[in-house]
C-alpha cells in the first residue's frame, strides 16, 4: 500500500507572523516548521503502514526549496521519502493553482491513499483536499477522526454539525484527518539521524509537465487587495503564572463584576 501525505511548511509558531505589505503575502523569510496539523496525517499514515506490515509513506509538498528542512521532521517520524514541488513561479499560488501543482505531483505517485492534515496553521486553510481530489478525480472524505482501511476501500468516521457520519470509499481516495484522530509520535534519535539519508526529491513545475502560467499569481483566481487593522477590541492582558495566577483571575473577575 502506498500512502501519500500532503504536508506544508509554515512559519514557526514562535515567530511573530506578518504579512509583507509589499507583496501582500505571508512573510515566509523566518524560521519554518512543519505544519503541526500535518504531523497527525503523517502519524496516521505510519500507523496504517505498520498495521498492514508493508507499504510506503511518501511526503508530497509544494513550497520554497527551504521547505525540505521542515519535511525532514516527518521523515524523522518514519516517512520513507519526500517529494517537494518547488518553483519560483509557484509563489503566491491560491487554491486552484496549489491544487494543480500538488495534483500533478500526486498523479505521478499513484498512491492508494492521499492524506491531509486538518488545516494549515498559517492560513487556516481547510479546503485544499477537496480541490486536490477533484484534480485526481477520486472520492474524498474530510474531517476523519477514525480511519479504517480494508481490501480496496476505506471507511472514515467524522463529525459534522449534526453528529457523526461514517463514510466509505473505494481506493484510491483522498482523506483529510481531524485533529482528534491521533497523538503524533515524537521522532526518535535514530529517526532524526536517519532522516537526512532518506530520498528527498525536489521537482520543478516543468518536471511535472505543469504550465508555469497555470500556477503562482498568474494561475491564481483570487487576489489580495489591501490589508487593514482588525476592529479594535478591549484591553487584553497576558500573565505568566508565578503561583498567584488563581488570585489574579479572581481579581479580574471581580473587577468585571463577574463573581
Amino acid at each position: 500500500m502506498k500512502i501519500a501525505v500532503c504536508v506544508k511548511e509554515v512559519p514557526d509558531a514562535a515567530v511573530h507572523k506578518r504579512i509583507d505589505p509589499e507583496t501582500k503575502r505571508l512573510d515566509r523569510s523566518g524560521e519554518g516548521a512543519l505544519n503541526h496539523f500535518d504531523t497527525q496525517a503523517v502519524e496516521e499514515a505510519l500507523r496504517l503502514k505498520e498495521a498492514q506490515g508493508e507499504g510506503e509513506v511518501v511526503l508530497v509538498s509544494f513550497g520554497p526549496a527551504s521547505a525540505l528542512d521542515s519535511l525532514r521532521k516527518a521523515l524523522a517520524m518514519g516517512a520513507d521519502r519526500a517529494v517537494l514541488v518547488s518553483d519560483e513561479s509557484g509563489a503566491g499560488s491560491d487554491l486552484v493553482a496549489t491544487s494543480r501543482a500538488l495534483g500533478a505531483a500526486l498523479q505521478r505517485e499513484e498512491a492508494d491513499i492521499v492524506l491531509f492534515g486538518q488545516q494549515g496553521s498559517d492560513s487556516d486553510g481547510a479546503v485544499l483536499w477537496a480541490a486536490v481530489a477533484e484534480r485526481l478525480r477520486v472520492p474524498v472524505i474530510s474531517q476523519v477522526a477514525e480511519l479504517e482501511v480494508g481490501e480496496g476501500k476505506l471507511k472514515g468516521k467524522r463529525q459534522t454539525e449534526f453528529g457523526y457520519d461514517v463514510i466509505e470509499a473505494p481506493l484510491p481516495a483522498v482523506v483529510a484527518v481531524s485533529d482528534a484522530i491521533n497523538e503524533p509520535r515524537y521522532p526518535s534519535l535514530k529517526g532524526i539521524m536517519g532522516a537526512k539519508k532518506k530520498p528527498q526529491e525536489t521537482m520543478s513545475l516543468a518536471d511535472l509537465g505543469v504550465d508555469e502560467g497555470s500556477v503562482g499569481e498568474a494561475g491564481s483566481r483570487t487576489t489580495v487587495l489591501a490589508l487593514a487593522d482588525p476592529p479594535p477590541r478591549g484591553d487584553s492582558q497576558k500573565i505568566e503564572d508565578d503561583g498567584s495566577a488563581a488570585e489574579q483571575i479572581v481579581e479580574f473577575l471581580a473587577g468585571k463584576k463577574l463573581l
Binding site: K17, I19, L95, V96, S99, Q119, D124, G125, A126, V127, L128, W129, A130, V132, A133, E134, R137, V138, P139, V140, Q143, Q159, T160, E161, F162, Y164, D165, V166, I167, E168, A173, S178, D179, A180, I181, S220, R221, T222, T223, V224, L225, A226, L227, A228, P230, R233, D235, Q237, K238, E240, D241, A245, A246, E247, I249, L253, A254, K256, L258, L259
Partner: protein
C-alpha cells in the same frame, strides 16, 4: 446572477446559509438559491421568503446523502448553463468541501473564511481575518465565477417575504463523484436548555490531558454557577459528550464569561465562542492562538491553577 448554496437538514433550511442568502440580496444582483437533494422542492418557497428570486432544485437520489462531490457536479452544471457570476457558501463541513471541489472543477477563485462582502463598481470585495485575526485582508477575484465561503454565523437571516420562481435541474454525475457512500449517520436531536443559554461557561480542551481531568472543569463551572463545554478534539476523542461541544461543528455560545482551560484556540473553536463577553484562557503554551483573542490570558499549568481558582471562587461566594 449570484447563486447561494443553501444547506438543509431534516427538512430545515440552515440558518448559516439563509444568512448568506440575505446578505447576497444586498449586493444588487439577481439572487438564486440552490437546494440539492430529494424533498428540496418543498423547501423552495422558504428560500423565497429569505430573498431568493429564483430557486434551483435538484432531487436526484445521488444527492440524498450530505456528501460533497455529487453537489460539485450539480453546481458545475448549473454555473455552465445559467448566467451565474458568483457562488456563495456559508461554511460547514459539507459546504467547504463543495466549494473547494467546485473551484478546482471550474478553475474558479475561492476566498474562504470571509466575514464581509461588498459590491463596488461591479467588483466584489471580501474581508478575511488572517493570522489569528490580527489583520484584516481585503480579497478579490480575477475571474468569474467568483466563489466565497463565509465564516459560520457571520450574517443573520432576514425575512423579506418574497416569492421565488422554482426551476428544476437534472444533473448528471461523474463516476468518481458518486463513489463515496454514507454507511451510517448518528445525528443527535437538539434537546432542552443547553450551554447556549448559560451566562458562564467553563470549557476544556486537549490540554486537560485526559477525560478524568474534566472534573476540574466541572468543579470550576459548579463554583461559578456555569455550564461545561468542550472542544471538538476532546469530544471526538470521547472525553465529553457532543452536546457540550462549542465551535464550528458544535454550538455557538455567547456567555458573559467564557473560561477556556487547555484550549489552543483553533479557528473551528473560536467561531463558536468569539461572541463571549469576557474570555479568560489558561494554557501552558505561550504561543497558543487563544491568547490573541482573550481578555485575560494565563500562561501556566491548569492542573494547578484551576483547583486553586475553584477554591477561591467558592470562598468568595460563601463569604
Amino acid at each position: 446572477m449570484i447563486a447561494v448554496f443553501v444547506e438543509h437538514h431534516e427538512g430545515q433550511l440552515q440558518r448559516g446559509s439563509l444568512g448568506v442568502l440575505s446578505k447576497a440580496v444586498t449586493l444588487g444582483e439577481e439572487v438564486a438559491a440552490v437546494l440539492l437533494g430529494p424533498g428540496t422542492k418543498e423547501l423552495a418557497r422558504e428560500a423565497g421568503r429569505f430573498g431568493a428570486q429564483k430557486v434551483f432544485v435538484a432531487e436526484a437520489p445521488e444527492l440524498e446523502a450530505p456528501l460533497p462531490q455529487p453537489r460539485v457536479d450539480a453546481l458545475a452544471q448549473l454555473v455552465g448553463e445559467q448566467d451565474i457570476d458568483t457562488v456563495l457558501f456559508g461554511a460547514s463541513v459539507l459546504a467547504s468541501d463543495v466549494a473547494a471541489g467546485l473551484a478546482a472543477r471550474l478553475d474558479a477563485g475561492l476566498n474562504w473564511d470571509l466575514v464581509e462582502i461588498e459590491a463596488s463598481d461591479g467588483q466584489l470585495v471580501g474581508k478575511r481575518p488572517a493570522l489569528e485575526d490580527s489583520v484584516y485582508v481585503d480579497v478579490g477575484w480575477t475571474s468569474e465565477p467568483r466563489l466565497a465561503l463565509f465564516r459560520p454565523g457571520t450574517f443573520d437571516p432576514a425575512e423579506s417575504g418574497g416569492e421565488a420562481q422554482v426551476e428544476e435541474l437534472t444533473p448528471t454525475f461523474e463516476e468518481f463523484s458518486t463513489a463515496a457512500t454514507m454507511v451510517e449517520q448518528a445525528h443527535e436531536e437538539s434537546s432542552g436548555p443547553s450551554i447556549e443559554d448559560a451566562d458562564v461557561i467553563v470549557a476544556g480542551g486537549r490540554g486537560l490531558g485526559g477525560p478524568e481531568n474534566f472534573s476540574l472543569v466541572e468543579g470550576l463551572a459548579k463554583a461559578l454557577g456555569g455550564a461545561v463545554a468542550a472542544t471538538r478534539a476532546v469530544v471526538d476523542a470521547g472525553w465529553y459528550p457532543y452536546a457540550s461541544q462549542v465551535g464550528q461543528t458544535g454550538k455557538t455560545v455567547s456567555p458573559k464569561l467564557y473560561i477556556a482551560c487547555g484550549i489552543s484556540g483553533a479557528i473551528q473553536h473560536k467561531v463558536g465562542m468569539q461572541g463571549s463577553g469576557n474570555v479568560v484562557a489558561i494554557n501552558k503554551d505561550p504561543n497558543a492562538p487563544i491568547f490573541e483573542f482573550c481578555d485575560l490570558g494565563v500562561v501556566g499549568d491548569l492542573h494547578e491553577i484551576v483547583p486553586k481558582l475553584t477554591e477561591l471562587v467558592q470562598q468568595r461566594r460563601a463569604g
